[in-house]
């Protein structure tokens, strides 16, 4: 109870801070005050929520007399919400620390500073809500605060466009959630979550509610085909906000889905996962392929968020299916994998957005083809980004590997399903996860290689220098967290035990009993992984290799001009570009996923003009789904437009006619 009150007070503090920020935003040290206070409040919230979560305290609830008079505002803190609140506050604390440095370079501080604490409050309030009304209000508050941050630099046309698409999608998602709650409340109108838990819906109603929750929460999380706003809106915000939107807000959306699927809808049906898992796989594939094609660094990261959300949804679908078939240990494994990946993704995606923000601060460029050569110029940023890229690419001994490995372990339990559909589908999911992991590695090898290695591709990149201390500390802290979470995953898995216990009624075996920091998801005989061992191996191998190289090769090293094949102009543009690095993947998957075509305009012999290679790609989801909907809305609006120009009497006649028609209908029906 104390924890719940404390968290609500933290949120109140954040809202107050938003008001203060609006007043002081124009002062020169405003960013220090606002982000410093946000850091302190987030750290406090993190301490309270993680103490509640790790202490395995009983759920606490509270009703405040605000909001609808007959309902009040219900708040509840249980294992599920405490986990997501702790995750959110950790991300918020890192982002606030980063922003103490990043905010100094903000061109319009008054448009960012007031909305930032409000956004943090929204993120932390959604998981606390315990009735439909409070949930929707806090959800919309979160959406609107982040929308205001997306629109911070609204004079750029693409940001205004992103804000518009985001607003439409957020409204659509909230509508779906509203309808889902309406279905659950039923005719009796019990909008408190307690009332919904007490009366789980019938199978058909639950199916519809799940579909609506998938649309509503999925549109915010970035589930295909509702992901289109995400790569537009996340990069448009200032970088610390992009980190929060990708790292935390998508997790709050996953929380929303889990609150429905694992709590409010009652016992799950195995058929639900037939919708959840393929959607997750499609999302992951679309996300990772788009990330491979993208040349804007921040948009690339946003597409990678879509990919990771897809992976998490695959694991959640598995957990639902296992739970429905009473395979509760396997459900606990899949759920733990999903939650661990959500946590890990928050760590490395925040880190990578911070690095992108640092690069943006240092060079002013987001286009990969204007970067390069930053490894020597921005050591801290580059090393942190390297760790982040390795982690998100799923390389051991970092944390991304652990959660994806756990996911595959859960997939390997697929043959235990009694339904053949699920057996075959998990097989497909395993292939999808493996493919996505490999493509993600390719995407981040490309992102890091083009952005940080090679020679600078633009004068701005050549002039770049290291960024402020708070930004470096935030990045280094997250990189350290990625490493630690990768080396000691057993600690995290054990910490997630109460969540799995509360959600699917079982937990993974205690990992701390297994010696030498190994983890074994099912049994030690079957499969186990030791992050520490891999780490020690990598460090030893690295140290030995560098010793050998320096001992025997460095002495013989001499610097000389690179041999340029006799080509007179060795411009940096002759290096790999972002597009050329992606060409193999584009040739294999591009035609199918993006209708990609390459046309070569080769001048005839003797013609001095340059040859041109042009790549044509378009987003199939946008063209196939959104463009027709947009055209239909526009067409209907044009048809209905004359209705705006009727006379008073015609309007009255319309009202009268409608009333008569309804009465006739009523008389005829009853």
């Amino acid at each position: 109870m104390i924890a719940l009150v404390g968290l609500l007070l933290v949120d109140l503090g954040l809202l107050t801070l938003a008001g203060i920020a609006a007043v002081v935003a124009r002062r020169r040290d405003a960013h220090t005050i606002v982000y410093g206070a946000a850091l302190a409040l987030s750290a406090l919230g993190l301490a309270i929520s993680s103490a509640h979560f790790l202490g395995r305290e009983a759920p606490a609830s509270l009703v405040l007399p605000i909001g609808l008079p007959w309902l009040g505002a219900h708040f509840r803190l249980d294992a599920l919400s405490a986990f997501f609140i702790a995750l959110g506050h950790l991300g918020a604390a890192a982002a606030s620390l980063y922003a103490i440095g990043y905010g100094r370079h903000e061109t319009h501080p008054a448009r960012v500073a007031p909305f930032y604490p409000a956004f943090l409050a929204g993120l932390a309030l959604v998981p606390l809500a315990d009735d439909a009304y409070t949930f929707l209000v806090t959800w919309e508050f979160m959406s609107l605060a982040s929308w205001a941050l997306v629109m911070a630099h609204h004079r750029r046309a693409e940001n205004a466009q992103a804000g518009f698409v985001y607003l439409v999608m957020a409204a659509f998602g909230a509508l779906a959630l509203l309808l889902a709650f309406g279905l659950l409340a039923g005719a009796s109108g019990g909008y408190a979550f307690d009332a919904m838990r007490a009366h789980p819906p019938k199978a058909v109603v639950a199916g519809f509610a799940l579909a609506l929750a998938l649309i509503g929460a999925g549109s915010k999380a970035g589930l295909a085909p509702l992901h289109v706003w995400l790569p537009l809106a996340h990069p448009a915000a200032p970088s610390h906000v992009s980190a929060l939107m990708s790292g935390v807000m998508t997790k709050v959306a996953i929380y929303g889905f889990m609150r429905f699927a694992f709590d409010l809808l009652g016992p799950p049906d195995w058929r639900w996962s037939l919708a959840v898992m393929p959607l997750g796989a499609a999302t992951a594939l679309i996300g990772v392929l788009s990330a491979n094609m993208e040349i804007d660094l921040k948009r690339l990261l946003a597409y990678s968020t879509v990919e990771n959300i897809g992976l998490i949804f695959i694991a959640l679908g598995l957990a639902l299916a296992f739970e429905a078939d009473d395979l509760s240990r396997a459900a606990a494994l899949a759920l733990t994998a999903a939650m661990l990946h959500a946590f890990n993704h928050m760590l490395f995606k925040s880190l990578l957005f911070f690095a992108a923000g640092a690069v943006l601060t240092a060079t002013g460029a987001r286009d990969l083809n204007r970067l390069g050569g930053l490894f020597d110029r921005m050591r801290w940023t580059s090393l942190s980004a390297l760790i982040g890229c390795a982690a998100i690419a799923g390389l051991p001994p970092l944390n991304g590997f652990v959660s994806e490995w756990l996911m595959l372990q859960a997939v390997l339990l697929g043959p235990a399903f009694p339904q053949w559909t699920l057996k075959l589908m998990t097989l497909g999911m395993g292939a999808a996860v493996a493919l996505v992991a490999a493509l993600a590695a390719a995407a981040f090898a490309r992102a890091f290689g083009i952005a940080f290695l090679g020679r600078p591709r633009s004068p701005e990149a050549a002039r770049a220098g290291e960024v402020d201390a708070p930004m470096r500390y935030a990045m280094a802290g997250l990189a350290g967290a990625c490493l630690l979470a990768g080396i000691f995953p057993g600690v995290l898995i054990d910490a997630l035990k109460p969540l799995a216990q509360a959600t699917v009624g079982a937990a993974m075996p205690l990992q701390s009993k297994i010696g030498w920091t190994s983890i074994a998801p099912i049994a030690e005989l079957r499969s186990s992984y030791n992050g520490l061992l891999v780490f020690v191996f990598f460090v030893t191998a690295g140290v030995m290799a560098s010793f050998v190289i320096h001992r025997f090769a460095s002495a013989a090293l001499r610097r000389a001009p690179a041999w340029d094949c006799g080509f007179p102009n060795s411009d940096p543009a002759t290096q790999y570009t972002a597009q050329s690095f992606a060409q193999p993947i584009r040739r294999v998957y591009g035609g199918f996923a993006f209708a990609a075509r390459e046309t070569v305009d080769m001048p005839r012999p003797g013609d001095p003009r340059a040859a041109r290679l042009t790549i044509h790609m378009h987003d199939r989801v946008w063209r196939g789904l959104y463009a027709p909907i947009g055209a239909a809305v526009e067409g209907i609006a044009t048809r209905l437009n004359p209705l705006q120009f009727l006379t008073i009497r015609q309007y009255l006649s319309v009202v009268f006619g409608a009333l008569i028609a309804l009465l006739v209908l009523l008389a005829a029906r009853s």
């Binding site: 004359p642 009497r649 009268f656």
Partner: protein, 220 residues
């Protein structure tokens, strides 16, 4: 409820509908306003009778409010408005009197059919009351549709509101505060319309709703 109570309230509600019909065929503004005042007097009688029958003292207050505002203040204000505005005393109708009356009959029939069908469980008094009230509402709307003058739009609106009050008085237990709110809103509406009429006259020199249509701004 004994027979007499029922018969009297039935008669008063029926009279309200009758006045609604009379409103439909008035061609002079003064007569229109007078019929409206008469309808309001019948309304206050009907509400007072309900107060007596249901033994609800606060309905007397409703009746008093209806009388004061609708039977006295508003007709007086409209009379003055016509004199000050110097508008044509004759009302132009869009649809002829005959078809209008037929449409009115159809409306009343529809109201009765609907109410008899859907309100089978309520007692007879409330059901008949609701049927008459719905008839008055529909007649008021019909009048707003078929008349062209702004003043008759106002009268139609007020008459529609009479139907609402009748329905509310029949439904048991409408709180007094709602009555006050409705009465207040009617007065506000009157003030707004009053200002509107004057501005219209100043701007366009006519009170014909058609004059407005030419000034609706851009048109596609």
């Amino acid at each position: 409820m004994n027979g007499l109570d029922f018969d009297v309230s039935h008669m008063l509600a029926g009279a309200l509908v009758l006045f609604g019909f009379m409103l439909l065929y008035q061609t002079r503004l003064y007569a229109l306003i007078n019929v409206y005042a008469a309808q309001a007097i019948v309304l206050s009688l009907a509400v007072a009778w309900q107060a007596y029958v249901q033994d609800k003292p606060h309905l007397y207050a409703t009746a008093a409010i209806a009388f004061a505002f609708k039977a006295a203040l508003i007709p007086y204000a409209l009379h003055r408005a016509i004199v000050r505005l110097g508008v044509a005393r004759e009302v132009e109708t869009v649809v002829g009197v005959g078809p209008t009356m037929l449409a009115g009959l159809a409306c009343v029939a529809l109201a009765i059919v609907v109410m008899l069908r859907i309100a089978t469980e309520t007692d007879a008094l409330a059901r008949e009351d609701l049927a008459f009230a719905l008839s008055v509402i529909l007649l008021g709307l019909l009048m707003m549709v078929v008349r062209r003058s702004q003043v008759s739009l106002v009268i139609g609106f007020m008459s529609l509101e009479n139907g609402l009050i009748l329905a509310a008085a029949g439904a048991k237990g409408m709180p007094l505060v709602v009555e006050f709110a409705v009465a207040f809103s009617v007065v506000v509406a009157l003030v707004v319309i009053w200002v509107f009429l004057f501005r219209l006259r100043d701007r366009f020199g006519a009170l014909d709703a058609q004059a407005l249509d030419a000034f609706q701004g851009e048109r596609r």
